[in-house]
Symmetry: C2
Subunit: 150 residues, 2 copies
């Protein structure tokens, strides 16, 4: 008898510093070499916000203050739910953690849209910039139900 | 070597019909005999909203349209994250599913506050009624980090 498994939570954030946002280039599979917002699997004993901040610390060695809820993405084909927050970088200090090749601050126009690791990251970033341009902080739902083309 | 486990998602909703809300009295442990909003573990392959609607169908044999996001509760001591939505009951038809002893529609004043099964349910219901009274539909975060007294 096989029991179903429950979806895993992936927590992340979009850290901003003086208008630019922090992105990481992945040093691990899947999608090694592609770009992502800081995000990873939530662990037991932490809140949604603490998980998002911890992932940013681990992947970008950067300290953030987590802000408003940005995106809730049901990644049904992968059995994951991605929860993304807005965040403020507290100091302009960051560096590649063990799971990142490089980390940098990017203007909207300089985001490597064609080299993003995951569709949920693209959804998150597009909603982030659209809301910022409109002066609002909404939250957004999406379902991603097929593996991306590689 | 022991791997950490990841938190499980519990999805639920507050179904409303003509101003009253649907509650279930639990037929299973934990908290057998106590009252709860329809909620349960999310399964792979469903979105947040479909999971919330399915749980309402299973526990209250009731069909709902899921609405806005209401509560995100990190239940850190239990390794769970509870996500609750507002919902509309599509027809005034409901009955106890296999995990419920009884199901009913309640006015705010008649909610059995002292017989609620879980603190996250109480948090969810209190925010629901406060927002409704204020004419808004916000979402609310909470951390619950200790087992309830029984």
């Amino acid at each position: 008898m096989i029991h179903y498994q429950n979806p895993k939570l992936v927590l992340g954030c979009v850290p901003e510093w003086e208008g630019r946002i922090l992105l990481c280039r992945r040093a691990i599979e899947p999608r090694l070499g592609f770009w992502t917002v800081p995000a990873g699997f939530m662990e037991n004993g932490e809140t949604l916000q603490r998980a998002a901040a911890r992932e940013c610390q681990e992947e970008a060695l950067a300290t953030v203050e987590i802000g408003s809820l940005l995106a809730l993405v049901s990644v049904t084909h992968a059995g994951q739910v991605h929860v993304m927050f807005r965040a403020k970088l507290l100091r302009p200090e960051f560096a590649a953690g063990p799971e990142s090749l490089e980390v940098g601050l990017y203007e909207e126009a300089d985001v490597p849209w064609n080299e993003l690791a995951f569709p949920s990251g693209e959804f998150t970033l597009r909603r982030y910039f659209a809301d910022r341009a409109a002066g609002r902080e909404d939250h957004h739902f999406a379902e991603l139900n097929r593996p991306m083309k590689i």
